[in-house]
């Protein structure tokens, strides 16, 4: 898998930034040729993660870029990758946080686990006091 450059970094500091991240992901996913269902899924996942960055991480950045790779069958495919980084308090128990219904705030507790189900690749690294980094990839069919 290789990044194809032209990535955009958006600061997440207010509600309006969550909308900007969503629009950016939508534009990139459209450019990568994702279908309507995959597009809606990755945009929704980005929305959840951006809001987590804002609400739980105290703000951070989102980086959105087009990626190219190959399927298991060796066919070339393109997709979109989004990286969310914050320097917040971190998640003490990542495994628990990825369970449905786990919530540190007043939400439904489905954001993180739901976002994972909406994308093809999901990677979360976090440590108490060292912030949180989430990388998601969604491939076109």
């Amino acid at each position: 898998m290789s990044a194809r450059g032209g990535g955009d970094e958006v600061p997440i500091a207010a509600d309006a930034d969550v909308v900007r991240v969503r629009q950016l992901v939508r534009a990139r996913a459209q450019a990568a040729g994702l279908g309507l269902v995959d597009l809606t899924k990755v945009v929704t996942a980005a929305s959840e993660l951006a809001r987590n960055t804002l609400v739980h991480g105290g703000g951070g950045t989102a980086r959105v870029e087009a990626v190219a790779g190959t399927t298991a069958g060796g066919r070339p495919r393109s997709g979109v990758r989004a990286v969310f980084v914050d320097a917040g308090p971190g998640i003490p128990d990542v495994r628990a946080a990825l369970q449905d219904g786990w919530s540190s705030g007043t939400g439904l507790g489905l954001g993180l686990s739901g976002a994972r189900r909406l994308v093809d690749e999901f990677d979360l690294t976090s440590g108490v006091g060292s912030g949180t980094r989430v990388v998601v990839v969604k491939w076109g069919r």
């Binding site: 600061p11 597009l39 809606t40 899924k41 959840e48 809001r51 939400g107 439904l108 739901g114 909406l118």
Partner: protein, 279 residues
């Protein structure tokens, strides 16, 4: 000072310039930007300036790409820290002050005074301009908030809210208030929230919708959600959101038919009417 000469001053006295730049910018920003951060900014700023000046005297030259990147980062971080445009631009104008104080530089006092005066004029204009534009943007978003949430009466006892665009907390609050008020005003027992125009339903949007529906229910009204597209349906399932007993419909028409039937009205096609309303 000619171009070659400021480059020469910079090459010879970079450390002095950085120090007087810091002395100039630090006091007004004290308590808001840390000294370490300002020192780093100064280092990067003068470093990139020196690298560019060694090659070219024109800022539009590619040699200043690094400097442009440093300035971009500086502007963005100042904006995030909530500093005004003037306070941000002062970090750049302080470069001039630093040069004027450099050893061996003897500027014309009258010219310096004029130059600083014009800088202040420029900053003032810029500040007023940004303020005016922000006011316009603020007014527009408020207008949009009002415009984008009409509650329409579809039938006796049936009201609908067609939602378009992004649902944030502020908008949902407006929607909820308007919907609940219109239930009282029109004596309606049925409300339909149509989300055809909402591009994505995430957990926050879903939570807002659920709360609105719960509030309507407490007032004795039945609330339906319509306009759930195939892609939104699949996203909601993958997210794991449970809409429970809330009645959802694919289209506003389906929701209206259901609401009409619940009010006792029946929808039948008249015998004399054409099979399809093709008018």
């Amino acid at each position: 000072m000619s171009v070659e000469s400021w480059g020469a001053v910079l090459a010879e006295h970079q450390a002095d310039l950085q120090a007087s730049w810091l002395a100039e910018v630090a006091p007004p920003l004290a308590g808001r930007v840390t000294r370490q951060e300002l020192e780093r900014d100064g280092r990067e700023l003068f470093g990139a300036l020196a690298a560019g000046a060694a090659v070219s005297g024109s800022f539009s030259d590619g040699a200043y790409d690094e400097l442009r990147a440093v300035l971009t980062e500086l502007s963005r971080s100042r904006a995030r820290q909530g500093l005004t445009p003037s306070e941000t631009a002062t970090s750049v104008f302080a470069v001039k002050t630093a040069f004027l104080r450099a050893p061996g530089v003897q500027p014309d006092a009258a010219f310096v005074a004029l130059s600083q005066f014009v800088d202040e004029l420029g900053l003032f204009t810029f500040e007023v301009y940004v303020e005016a534009r922000e006011r316009v943007i603020g007014e527009q978003s408020e207008q949009l908030l009002e415009l984008s949430t009409p509650v329409v009466k579809l039938w006796d006892g049936v009201v609908a809210v067609p939602l378009v665009g992004t649902l944030d907390s502020a908008r949902t609050q407006v929607v909820m208030e308007k919907l609940l008020q219109s239930l009282v005003d029109t004596g309606s027992e049925h409300a339909i929230i149509d989300i055809t125009g909402v591009p994505a339903v995430d957990t926050q949007v879903a939570q807002h919708l659920l709360k609105t529906i719960l509030a309507a229910r407490l007032m004795g009204a039945e609330c339906q959600i319509s306009g759930i597209s195939p892609q939104i349906a699949q996203t909601i399932v993958a997210l794991g959101i449970d809409f429970g007993e809330i009645r959802t419909r694919a289209t506003l028409a389906d929701a209206l038919v259901h609401a009409l039937r619940s009010t006792g009205a029946d929808v039948v096609r008249g015998a004399g009417a054409p099979a399809r309303t093709g008018r």
